[in-house]
């Protein structure tokens, strides 16, 4: 689709974060032709496209009723990011694909204007000339001064990578929905405030007019009214009408159900809060408005003013800014959310997908994942899941599945499935294709509220735009398909009055352009529920309902495959759709497997010891939800406990739904994790506390640095192995040094080897200058300790030597290590000083993979019943101990001290599993009476 000759290489995104990586020089004869863009710092994986911007960014645009589409702001707010990219032009593009404008007017049968709680629409579009692809999220905000009380806005995620947009559609949609929800919540609040003030003004005006009329009445006692009096009376009548209208509007905006807006954690400052408490609204140049704004903050002091009969001209007034529209507080929250989105989707698609799969898999390993994974990430969404899945004891033995079949919720939307859907859309357009069809599709797509009688009018415009040489390729729109298949519903739509003008204006603006727009997909959520869709326009849609469908909107992105199913129940259609999609796409397979009834399919899992048959990834997301089997009376270790007793994960149908809910509510978690993050930051000030979102690049960079420094440590110190062994086996490592920066750096690096006690805190203390206490060893497993030359420092050293049996001491100044002997095989694999890994991030991943393997060993060891409890009464403790030892050695292949590592992890797993309430509990301090040795360089 993209055929841009003017290739601009991506500049490497995070080059400042990584230490410069110098390619080793190859002899000339071995060298292959150099990558043509190597000089620009590009790697072969970087995207080559005609994009004029250096990396993805978010654009917020508005369709101003005064100047038309205009860009408002970008995130990141850095001109370098979008470079020469024409924001104005692109704003025009993205604003023009909003087929549905919200509408406030006088619907037939209603005397007063109705506010329309419109759902946002989500569109993907591409502009091959610009090399830009965008996820566009349209929303409308209310403004009393705007035409029809609405202001159309859109937020667009712009990327040069089409696949990224397509495959991350669900995630983008979910995240942008949160941002939009936040904006809208703030806007409703501001709008209500504005209405209240307006009402006061009107009330005042009425009183004034009334008095004036009375005076006039008294002034001329003749039997007729002067024209002036009539005018006054009319004015009064119109004010009365206006009051009723505004009261009605206020009622409508207030009737917006609060409950659901609480779902968005960003809007934590919910509407319960009185408006008086709200932050100040930024002042405008308009003195009247600024007065308003001031009064907004101190409402009781508001003095109403007279409203002139003739309203000011539309172009005279200055429209409110987005911030004013949305209440500063919410606006900043939205900006934070948007920059979070920008962080979240930063980087290559492969990277995003892998990390998503990674996360999904990690979530399944909830029994062990707390040990080494970044707790912030792990925490993300897991809690939500626990809440959303009701605990259900499974009636039978659910079938076991291989890893591939394990459902990975919302990870993949494969291109394949998308493409298949594209092909099935009957209205795939090209410039060469029939214009009529195209026009109809585009018309309906652009303005779904269009009544039949307006189509012609629009068609005229569309024709114009086509004739101007523009090629618009509609790759797939749900709206269009649903509209086509349900034309009767469309016909029943009523005629909007004011938005038409805007719409036609938009279209006419479009005609100016000469470029191609490919509307790749749209997914208005209404499209999925034709009945609701129908109902949404004549009267205010019940947002309660539509919100509930909101999450599904994203999923039903694929629903364009099978329009006939749209009317079906959500679950069914989803599953059907999924099962109908291209079989090459794994989501189809997964959903198939989801649909499979929980049969008792035998699954032979050759278990060497016959004790446990529960692979770690087999859990439900529930605490209660996993099963361990053990041979009941049999003590024979070689017994095969395969088919029947195989534990597996119960899949309740609600789970899939739950996984969808997750995206919607994960913001809650974010706020949670942010708070835990900040609490962590207070203890370990090494992390950047300023990072608004824990999954942002700061933690990414953090990891890279840690990996790099750990690698350095391993190369530099020959005694890295016993030091790492100390960390893995739960013996506190004290890093002693004079220079705080160096100590902190090493502590951060080594912290990647420290098993966590719980999800909530890493037992690492980066810098301490006071003497250590016994509780410190219970709490911290890695401590950076200041070496002080003064007599006070002697006390520190004294306590250190006193508690030496609990600690390993790494002295950075004298380059010595005092710790127990290590002769295992695990750490050498983890920390090979001759490793060819050079990059910090790579090494970090290497460590993670080795540690994950270790975790699974610890899991097996922990949950093997016969290793810890006798199989029958006559078994002695000695027999058990020897069985444990045998298992560790033969089955897990652990030698010497490695067993201690697994045993320590097993204790942590036990404690974690039994911990009733999640919290930062500190396990007991375990130690061994083993001699220590002094290592020197």
């Amino acid at each position: 689709m993209i055929s841009a000759p003017d290739v601009v290489a991506f500049t490497k995104e995070e080059e400042y974060e990584e230490e410069p990586y110098n390619e080793p020089a190859l002899p000339e004869e071995y060298s292959v032709p150099l990558f043509p863009f190597a000089s620009q710092g590009a790697n072969p994986w970087s995207k080559l496209s005609g994009a004029k911007f250096s990396r993805d960014f978010i654009l917020i645009s508005e369709f101003s009723e005064q100047v038309g589409p205009q860009p408002l702001l970008t995130i990141p707010n850095d001109t370098k990011v979008f470079g020469t990219f024409d924001l104005n032009y692109f704003s025009l593009r993205i604003m023009s694909v909003d087929y549905q404008a919200s509408f406030v007017g006088h619907p037939p049968g209603s005397a007063y204007p109705k506010l329309n709680f419109v759902e946002d629409s989500k569109v993907v579009l591409g502009d091959s000339k610009e090399g830009a692809f965008a996820y566009v999220h349209h929303l409308t905000l209310y403004d009393l001064e705007a035409r029809g009380f609405v202001r159309p806005f859109c937020m667009a995620y712009i990327s040069a990578d089409q696949h990224k947009i397509m495959q991350q559609f669900q995630e983008l949609s979910a995240e942008f929905s949160k941002a939009s929800e936040c904006l809208k919540t703030g806007n409703r609040k501001a709008f209500a405030g504005e209405l209240e003030k307006k009402l006061k003004d009107l009330d005042y005006t009425r009183t004034v007019l009334h008095t004036e009329t009375e005076i006039q009445k008294k002034a001329n006692d003749k039997g007729f009214y002067s024209s002036q009096a009539i005018e006054k009376a009319n004015e009064l009548a119109s004010v009365e009408k206006s009051i009723i209208e505004h009261q009605d509007l206020l009622k409508q905006i207030r009737s917006y159900p609060h409950r659901k807006s609480k779902g968005s954690a960003l809007c934590s400052a919910e509407t319960e809060r009185t408006q008086d408490q709200a932050d100040q609204v930024a002042t405008t140049s308009n003195p009247e408005e600024s007065a308003d704004a001031d009064l907004y903050t101190c409402r009781p002091a508001y003095t109403p003013k007279l409203i002139k009969a003739k309203s000011t001209k539309c172009f005279d007034k200055k429209l409110k800014t987005l911030e004013e529209l949305c209440d500063t507080e919410y606006f900043t929250q939205t900006l934070a959310q948007l920059s979070h989105i920008e962080h979240m989707f930063r980087g290559d698609l492969c990277y995003l997908l892998t990390s998503q799969i990674d996360r999904a898999l990690l979530k399944q390993q909830h029994m062990t994942n707390f040990l080494f994974e970044d707790f912030v990430e792990v925490d993300d969404r897991v809690v939500e899941k626990l809440e959303s899945t009701p605990p259900k004891p499974s009636p039978g033995r659910p079938p076991s599945r291989s890893l591939e079949e394990c459902p990975i919720p919302q990870v993949l939307i494969s291109v394949g499935s998308y493409k298949s859907s594209v092909e099935s859309v009957p209205i795939k357009m090209d410039q060469e294709l029939g214009d009529e069809e195209y026009k109809e599709a585009e018309g309906t797509e652009l303005s779904s509220f269009d009544p039949q009688e307006n189509l012609d009018y629009l068609d005229m415009d569309m024709k114009g735009s086509i004739s101007s040489g523009e090629s618009i390729e509609v790759l797939g729109t749900e709206k269009s398909t649903s509209v086509l298949s349900k034309s009767d519903s469309q016909a029943s739509l009523t005629v909007p009055l004011s938005p038409q003008v805007i719409r036609s204006k938009a279209v006419s603006h479009r005609t100016i352009s000469e470029d191609s727009i490919e509307v790749l997909s749209t997914c208005p959520s209404e499209a999925l529920i034709p009945d609701d869709f129908k109902a949404s326009y004549p009267s205010a849609i019940n947002e309660e309902e539509s919100y509930a469908d909101d999450g599904e909107g994203a999923i039903h992105f694929q629903a364009s495959v099978s329009p006939p199913e749209l009317g079906e129940a959500q679950e069914g259609s989803l599953a059907n759709i999924l099962s109908q999609t291209d079989s090459s796409c794994c989501i189809g397979k997964e959903s198939d497997s989801l649909r499979v009834p929980l049969s008792t399919a035998a699954h032979t899992h050759p278990d060497p010891d016959g004790v446990v048959s529960s692979p770690p990834q087999r859990y439900r997301q529930k605490d209660l939800g996993f099963r361990v089997d053990f041979a009941g009376e049999s003590a024979s270790p070689s017994r095969d406990t395969s088919s029947e007793g195989f534990p597996a994960l119960e899949l309740d149908p609600g789970r899939l739904l739950a996984s969808r809910d997750v995206s919607k509510t994960s913001l809650d978690n974010f706020s949670d994790t942010t708070s835990t993050m900040s609490s962590v930051a207070s203890t370990s000030s090494d992390r950047t506390p300023s990072s608004a979102h824990p999954t942002g690049p700061s933690s990414e960079r953090h990891r890279k640095r840690a990996g790099q420094n750990a690698l350095k440590f391993i190369r530099q110190y020959p005694f890295a192995h016993p030091a790492i062994y100390s960390l893995l086996s739960g013996r506190t490592l004290v890093v002693l040094g004079e220079d705080e920066a160096i100590v902190r750096k090493l502590v951060t690096a080594l912290s990647i080897f420290v098993p966590n006690h719980s999800r909530y805190a890493k037992p690492v203390k980066h810098w301490v200058s006071s003497p250590l206490h016994i509780t410190d060893f219970q709490k911290w497993k890695l401590i950076g300790l200041q070496r002080v030359a003064s007599p006070a420092g002697a006390g520190t050293l004294h306590t250190l030597s006193r508690y030496s049996r609990y600690t390993s001491i790494l002295d950075l100044d004298s380059k010595t290590l005092r710790c127990p002997l290590y002769r295992g095989a695990l750490v050498p694999r983890l920390a090979d000083h001759r490793t060819h890994i050079r990059r910090g991030s790579t090494y970090y991943l290497h460590v993670q993979s080795v540690l994950t393997q270790l975790c699974s060993k610890a899991f097996l060891y922990t949950f093997c019943h016969h290793l810890h409890l006798p199989a029958h009464d006559r078994e002695t403790e000695e027999l058990l101990a020897s069985r444990r030892a045998g298992f560790l050695k033969q089955n897990l292949g652990l030698v010497n001290e490695d067993t201690k590592v697994v045993q320590y992890l097993a204790e942590l797993l036990k404690l974690h599993y039994m911990q009733e309430a999640p919290g930062p509990g500190h396990p007991t301090l375990r130690f061994d009476y083993v001699p220590s040795f002094l290592y020197k360089i």
Binding site: P393, R397, D623, L624, G625, F626, R627, V628, D629, F630, A631, G632, S634, R639, T641, E644, G645, P647, H773, I774, T775, Q778, T799, R802, Y803, S804, R805, T862, F863, H865, H868, L869, E877, Q903, A906, E907, K910, L911, Y913, M914, T924, L925, R926, F927, D928, Y929, V930, P931, S932
Partner: protein, 441 residues
């Protein structure tokens, strides 16, 4: 010259305590630990707080706030077997001259009619009364009614109290031991009464420790290192040992050593006992006194860096001591079979000769034993955790050791291996509860 402190390296294969849990609740010196039942204990100290803990999990169960000053004595008042309510009372005495007792967090009653600080408490379960010792001795019933009291005894007050048969109690007041008899209401007299019966003046210095050893005798220890074993029935001296500072009689410089040593080094802080031996914490050392042989059979002259404050005998021939130096040490009494001169008749002789004060008989025995030192105290492990003086400890058969210290902490020492097994047991129990455990048929 001092014998060097015995030390043990990092390798302590016999030390079972490989897990510890630090319990934090107090904000001043924790001086007392008292066991409530098989899994609970209470701690009390200078901050006036009593905290009830779960010895298994280390969980803080209750915090009892009531005292405004240091707690000077704590004792449990077990409910009677016949009593319907099984609630256990805890009596605490404090420098603010109040005694109150608590039962599951509730302050039952507060008594504050004392003229002096109550320094010790004792419960006579048989009579269902309790006694408080300060400058005088008071007798109370379960309902905290004052039954009777003695006259003002001394300004220093009673430092220790024990119960002996025939409704008698022994009180240590300064250098004296005073024996009181409690007269329960019987027949026509409905009044309780307490009568002073005898004063024993055998000690040279203040009596620091006073314990019952067995049904036949009790033992006292004084500041200058005198240990006297008394007949519990007729209150006569059964044996006396006052040369702890140097148990080897071969040395003629006994007097000189006695002079050059500070009295603190030889003061007897605590006793413990088993069927055969009395274990004394004398200064920094530990001494094992065999009741049958009437002599010290084993000793560690410098068991700790500083005074030993509390010792206890474990069932498995182990002795635990804690000291002002902040450490807890585990000792084992080992028999050395280097000499065949194990005098079987001696033990026999002493068995039936026990009870008679037979100095002549004990002398030859002593001589005989000196040639063959058959016992020794071996250090098998030390527990280092406290940063200040370890005041007391409590041994739970099933849960390990609890130590309390002047560093405001309580540490629960546990057998790591056993804890690991227990955790596994719990884990699988929880799995079973959740219905996640399947028995393969």
């Amino acid at each position: 010259k001092k014998s060097p402190l015995q030390t043990i390296g990092e390798e302590q294969t016999q030390n079972p305590y490989t897990e510890l849990l630090v319990l934090k609740a107090h904000h001043d010196i924790v001086r007392f630990l008292v066991q409530l039942d098989e899994y609970r204990f209470a701690s009390a100290g200078d901050d006036g707080i009593v905290v009830v803990w779960n010895a298994q999990t280390g969980e803080k169960l209750l915090e009892l706030n009531g005292h405004t000053q240091k707690i000077t004595a704590i004792i449990t008042f077990p409910s009677l077997e016949v009593c319907e309510e099984k609630n256990q009372l805890v009596l605490t005495a404090s420098a603010d001259r109040t005694v109150w007792d608590c039962d599951t967090g509730r302050q039952v009653q507060k008594v504050s009619c004392f003229q002096s600080t109550v320094k010790c408490l004792i419960v006579l379960q048989r009579l269902d009364v309790w006694l408080s010792g300060g400058n005088d001795l008071c007798v109370w019933n379960r309902k905290l009614d004052l039954l009777c009291k003695t006259n003002h005894l001394s300004d220093t007050g009673i430092s220790a109290l024990i119960e002996i048969p025939k409704n008698c109690v022994v009180a240590a007041v300064g250098k004296e031991l005073i024996i009181f008899r409690l007269v329960a209401p019987a027949g026509e007299s409905l009044e309780w009464d307490i009568l002073e019966i005898k004063r024993l003046l055998d000690h040279q210095d203040n009596i620091l420790s006073l314990v019952n050893v067995n049904d036949l005798s009790f033992v006292t220890g004084s500041h200058v290192g005198e240990m006297i074993i008394w007949n519990i029935l007729d209150w006569t001296v059964q044996a006396r040992e006052c040369n702890f500072w140097d148990p080897s009689p071969q040395l003629d410089t006994q007097q000189e050593i006695k002079l050059c040593q500070k009295p603190n080094d030889i003061s007897i802080h605590h006793f413990t006992w088993d069927e055969e031996n009395v274990f004394a914490a004398v200064g920094r050392g530990l001494y094992v006194y065999n009741l049958q042989m009437k002599r010290v059979i084993a000793c560690q002259k410098t068991a700790h860096d500083s005074s030993v404050l509390h010792i206890a005998k474990l069932p498995n021939r182990q002795l635990i001591s804690c000291s002002e130096d902040g450490s807890v040490r585990i000792w084992e009494l080992r028999e050395k079979q280097q000499l065949a001169a194990e005098p079987a008749p001696t033990g026999f002789f002493n068995m039936w000769g026990f009870g008679r004060v037979n100095k002549q008989a004990s002398q030859p025995v002593k001589k005989q034993q000196e040639n063959a030192t058959t016992y020794s105290l071996e250090l098998i492990g030390d527990l280092i955790g406290h940063s200040s003086s370890v005041e007391m400890f409590l041994y739970f058969e099933d849960h390990g050791l609890v130590t309390c210290s002047a560093d405001h902490l309580i540490i629960l020492w546990k057998n790591g291996e056993r804890e690991s097994g227990l955790r596994s047991l719990k884990l699988f129990q929880k799995l079973e509860e959740n219905g996640d455990l399947y028995l393969a048929v």
